[in-house]
């Protein structure tokens, strides 16, 4: 691909940095504004994952030169991506349900959450309340 004119890599890089900052600030804003439910999900999904897709597109198109690569390369990538979607939707139909024909999941979300909270309290007792190396220790109680 040496024959084509290079795009401005620095411009792409700074666009990626700006998108990166938005992807971090978006979910933080949802927390600061106290958003819950659909509005929180929309903000987090659009800023964290929507922007991740945008960033991936910029890296593919300009840094990996897919925009000027022969058409076979995108075909290879899209074929593998299609296989992935077959896998996801093939298994999701079973994995997303709690029961089906002749099977019931024994998992209880309430019990799992209680176990996590009990274990975290035990950890805090072990390590002391003043120690907080994790950035969101304070918010875990709210879940």
């Amino acid at each position: 691909m040496s024959g084509h004119k290079h795009p401005s890599y620095l411009k792409i890089y700074f666009t990626l940095l700006i998108l990166f900052i938005i992807s971090v600030l978006g979910p933080e804003m949802a927390h600061v504004l106290g958003l819950e439910g659909v509005s929180r999900a929309l903000l987090v999904l659009s800023t964290a994952f929507g922007i991740a897709i945008w960033k991936a597109y910029l890296v593919c198109a300009y840094f990996m030169h897919l925009k000027v690569e022969k058409i076979y390369a995108p075909y290879i990538l899209l074929a593998c991506l299609s296989l992935l979607f077959v896998f996801f939707f093939g298994t999701a139909t079973d994995a997303m349900f709690a029961n089906g024909h002749n099977w019931v999941k024994k998992y209880s979300e309430d019990k799992a959450l209680a176990e996590v909270i009990a274990r975290d309290e035990h950890h805090e007792d072990d390590h002391g309340h003043s120690e907080s190396h994790h950035d969101s220790h304070g918010e875990e109680k709210s879940h």
């Binding site: 940095l17 992807s23 994952f49 991936a56 390369a73 950890h123």
Partner: protein, 193 residues
């Protein structure tokens, strides 16, 4: 009868053989990492509150710093590619080594993060979330390490001797893919808590 060298003679696609092979590697990696991410999402949807409580412990600052290192290293590796097209060995090697240095920063931060998580009792056996966390980030870290080693070999074995310039572009493609995987792992593990 003269032998035709098959490995370098395939030109039907118009893509040089080495680069075509890298595209196939990236295609297979899409299935590997994509499968892991898809399974993570299925678990995330099924185990809402308990999953969030576990994810709340990951260190967003380190995750963000590692995103910055990888994004910047992606820029450096395209600079290396541009220099290799000009056949400028010194500049190419300089940008490759700067890319390796940022990969080293990534691995250093990741090691510190692993050490602190494990010291606080969060190991690969703690829960489903932590199993995914260590498997996905560990597999990604292994790819970063492999990329660093291959880049060092290309810089010192090929570019220093001013040969095989096309390998800079090939390793660049791989490195960008490693960056893209992190672009998706970062919001999954560190942001969408």
């Amino acid at each position: 009868m003269a032998h035709q060298i098959v490995a370098t003679g395939r030109s039907r696609t118009g893509i040089p053989t080495g680069r075509l092979a890298v595209w196939w590697i990236i295609g297979s990696e899409i299935v590997i990492f994509g499968g892991l991410i898809a399974t993570y999402l299925l678990n995330r949807f099924n185990h809402g509150p308990s999953w969030s409580a576990e994810a709340a412990h990951t260190n967003t600052f380190i995750g963000a710093a590692n995103t910055f290192w990888l994004l910047t290293s992606s820029l450096f590796v395209v600079f290396a590619h541009a220099a290799s097209e000009r056949k400028d060995a010194n500049k190419t090697r300089m940008w490759i080594w700067l890319t390796i240095m940022l990969g080293g920063f990534f691995m250093g931060f990741k090691s510190y993060e692993y050490a602190t998580e494990i010291l606080h009792g969060y190991t690969i056996f703690t829960s489903n979330f932590w199993s995914f966390y260590y498997l996905a980030t560990g597999l990604h870290g292994f790819h970063v390490l492999c990329g660093m080693v291959i880049m060092a070999i290309i810089a010192e074995n090929d570019i220093k001797n001013e040969r095989n310039w096309h390998r800079v572009e090939n390793i660049g493609l791989y490195w960008h893919f490693v960056d893209i995987v992190w672009i998706f792992l970062f919001p999954l593990m560190y942001i969408a808590k």
